[in-house]
């Protein structure tokens, strides 16, 4: 019973570590966690949402004004609403409704995807656009 546990344990790794290593790793763990927390709070609320169907640009909405639009999806109309700076899919003719269940999103970089409708909603802030240069 305990054999597989012995095989899976990290004891052989820990045996190599010096005190300096352990301090370094602890410091880095703290740094990473705080970094994650900081960037998550600093990440600005997105300002615009871009809607694409089948790779084609359909509309760009500002998240600052509430409105509701209907977009012609690949298999039927998709209702999209912007409320309180958040964008969500209200209804879609697709089977699984994953896009509807994605809920309202508001942060730059967030996306909602509906595969059957070939629909992508992507949120970006004006200053986040430069990130695409790296990805491409």
């Amino acid at each position: 019973m305990a054999e597989w546990r012995e095989k899976l344990s990290f004891a052989p790794l820990v045996k190599h570590l010096t005190i300096g290593d352990k301090i370094l790793l602890f410091f880095l763990a703290v740094l990473t966690v705080t970094g994650f927390l900081l960037t998550n709070t600093l990440r600005s609320g997105g300002l615009f949402a871009e809607i694409q169907v089948n790779g084609r640009h359909v509309a760009t909405l500002s998240l600052l004004e509430d409105r509701q639009i209907t977009v012609p999806g690949w298999i039927g109309p998709v209702e999209i609403s912007v409320r309180n700076g958040k964008i969500s899919v209200l209804s879609s003719p697709c089977l699984w409704k994953i896009c509807v269940r994605s809920g309202p999103v508001s942060k730059a970089g967030d996306i909602i995807v509906c595969i059957p409708s070939k629909l992508v909603i992507r949120i970006f802030a004006k200053n986040m656009e430069s990130l695409d240069a790296v990805t491409g």
Binding site: H16, T18, I19, G20, L28, T32, F36, M128, S130, A133
Partner: protein
Amino acid sequence: MPLPDNTTINNNDKNPVQRLVYLALFTVIGLVLFIAESYIPRPLPWVKPGLANLATLLALYIFNYRSALIVVILRVFLGALLLGTFSSPAFMLSLGGGLVSATVMWMFQKNTRNSFSVIGVSVFGSISHVFTQLLLTMFLLVKSTVIIHLLPVLLLPAVVSGLLVGWVTAVFLGQLKKTGLVRVGWYSSMEQ
């Protein structure tokens, strides 16, 4: 046979042929890992395991800083030629990252009186690699400070992969030492 602490044995003068053969082997190890890892699908385009650092660490611990630099430069140039990324931004980033991380690892291996084992040194290497690439991207490619937000996303995989690569190197060095073919300096706290 116990060795004096914190010595990197330099067999240059005694046996240049041995050094030549070992450096060629390390370069090939690094090259194969470098090419193999370029085929691994990645969650983010920037996150790479950095397995080729194993070769640099081996050269650093068995020979010296100069040998590690030779291994890094050869690996980067040959890898770029084989992958077809020569003189592209990717090549520039991997050359810069490789040189800086080799230098940082050498400094921490040489000057910290055995405070850090090969695993800690490897973690330092992978962190400095990430930092260098981020700075190079920031100043040469994107020219905007927004990508500093990527740092924590990049730091976590860097630490984990540095840990694992360092571990593999420690095991490798242990086995190599057992064979008695080369003399290996102090590399981990299992050594006493």
